[in-house]
């Protein structure tokens, strides 16, 4: 049995590289990169393109300012917050541990943009809630799943997991797939014996 054929490298002719929905594929040509470089020379870390998707990495402290700038600048107008999420980079790099990923979309210009910032455990990211009301639940979900603290969020509490969930943040890479222990519903701690097919309710 022979080795499988190696995976071919994606070619530039792939149909996905020319959609144009993310602006120019050359970072130098991209208006967002150019304007951020002018406005926030210190904050811009890098700009990368994969499959025509433009990703800008900024300093975490400048995230809110950059997004606000992207939203209000008349040439950019990324006015629609599509998504906020995070990636646990535990197995991919040393530090910082997480990437916070913000997907933006400009309704009038019909272009997307991805803004990223790295954040380590214990560090905070400025919340986007003062700019986008829609960031509320998305940031809560990030906090719930990764434990990333968003500074300035008005109501940072768990959203998908129960409020009394005390065992860390499940989308972290070091979180076991089946959890640390079986979840026991409060009030059902002792195994209830089944009597004649019905579940006996535990007493008060």
């Amino acid at each position: 049995m022979s080795e499988p054929r190696p995976v071919p490298a994606p070619t530039a002719t792939s149909p996905w590289d020319t959609t144009g929905y993310w602006g120019p594929t050359d970072p130098e040509q991209h208006p967002a990169v150019r304007l951020i470089r002018e406005r926030f020379p210190d904050a811009l870390r890098e700009a990368t393109v994969f499959r025509d998707e433009m990703t800008i990495r900024v300093d975490r402290r400048a995230l809110r300012d950059v997004v606000e700038f992207l939203r209000t600048h008349p040439e950019l107008r990324y006015n629609h917050l599509t998504d906020i999420t995070a990636v646990d980079m535990l197995y991919l790099r040393e530090r910082p541990r997480f990437d916070v990923v913000v997907q933006l979309y400009s309704i009038p210009r019909r272009q997307r943009l991805r803004v990223k910032c790295g954040v380590d455990d214990g560090e905070t990211v400025p919340s986007l809630v003062p700019i986008f009301a829609g960031a509320n639940w998305l940031e809560r979900e990030c906090y719930d799943m990764f434990g990333i603290i968003f500074e300035g969020h008005p109501d940072l509490r768990r959203i998908l997991l129960p409020e009394d969930w005390d065992e860390g943040h499940p989308l972290r890479k070091d979180y076991p797939l089946r959890g640390y222990r079986d979840y026991v519903q409060p009030g059902f701690e002792s195994p209830a014996p089944r009597i004649r097919g019905t579940l006996r309710r535990p007493g008060p």
Binding site: P4, V7, T19, G134, P170
Partner: protein, 409 residues
Amino acid sequence: MIDFSQSTPVILSEVRQLTPTRRELVLNMGPQHPSTHGVLRIRLTLEGETVIACDPVIGYLHRGVEKLGESHRYAQFVPWTDRTDYVAAPSNNLGYVLAVEKLCGIQAPERAQYWRMIMAELTRLASHLVWLGTHALDIGALSVSLYTFRDRELILDIFEKFCGARLTTNMMEIGGFSREIPPELPEMVREFCRYFPKAIQQYEDLLTENPIWLARTKGVGIIEPDVAINYGLTGACLRGSGVNYDVRKAMPYLLYDRVEFDVPLGTHGDVYDRYLVRIEEMRQSIRIIEQCLEQVPTDGPLMAYESQYVIPPHKNVMTTAEDMQRHFIWVIKGFSPPKGEVYHAVEHSKGELGYYIVSDGSPIPYRLRIRSPDFVNLQSLPYMAQGAMLADIVALIGTIDIVLGSVDR
């Protein structure tokens, strides 16, 4: 002229703790409640019947689909997408499959793309029918729900003919379709397209001019366009407010740039407008399906067979050693897309459904994020519920069109 795209700035007032005064009544609506469309729970603070505060509590159907995605191979995850928005499974499949194809840099053949469009639009119809039925039922119109579910059966029959399953279809495959289209399917779809406009007319006869329906929906749950954008709404919730954002038009995927259709926009942004918009969307979907049926080639490949990322054709597996090996590896080990990250969105029946995939070059996604539309749309419920009556809450939940499997993932 206002600069509409730069919506009004958000000024945060202080957070109100949900401790009721004595005049107020806290009502826990859900998670087991007939009209919260599943296991949504809403903590309502009422004064009389007027809603003072509204705090949706979600997560009762959280199954950790994203975490599961990080432990399944790419092709194995497709059935999981069915389970997120279970009333519109093929659209979920489509979003995920397109994201993986983008990550791999492959594209399905033209014929498969047309059939994907047909199936996606049929899914939109099925999902809108479920929405219309439950929405009308919430407001008290009993019969509409039975009519819509009757017609949804026809769509599910088409799905069953196409892939054997009705609800969780697992229909799309990475690279196209590996099985031939059943020969009688086009006629079935055509028959449905001939029938369905009459059904829409029937629903409209019951609701559109009904004075009680108007009283219950007009002027209720208004979202201004700037607020809608600020909340990140998509789908009919955004278009009901008059903002033209439809992923099919704005950034066409598949072959949506080859078909003609209009994007309906509301003019008042209330529950009634979102109802009108969705009704019109159903008509436009029929238009798209009819055009697709005209344009789709009758034969041709359905799968990007030449690629490494797709399952080899069944016939070749049986006859050639090389394809048998490929098949074996594909099934046992999966395939490894290049390192990178992609975000791909499709216009789901509820809004923009996006899949954000980070690949580290292994056969398993490093991170798989589902941007579900109703999760984001549901955030606008407290805004709409402000000062509404208790009975409006069910209309508002209905108008957002949530499926808790998709909200909680």
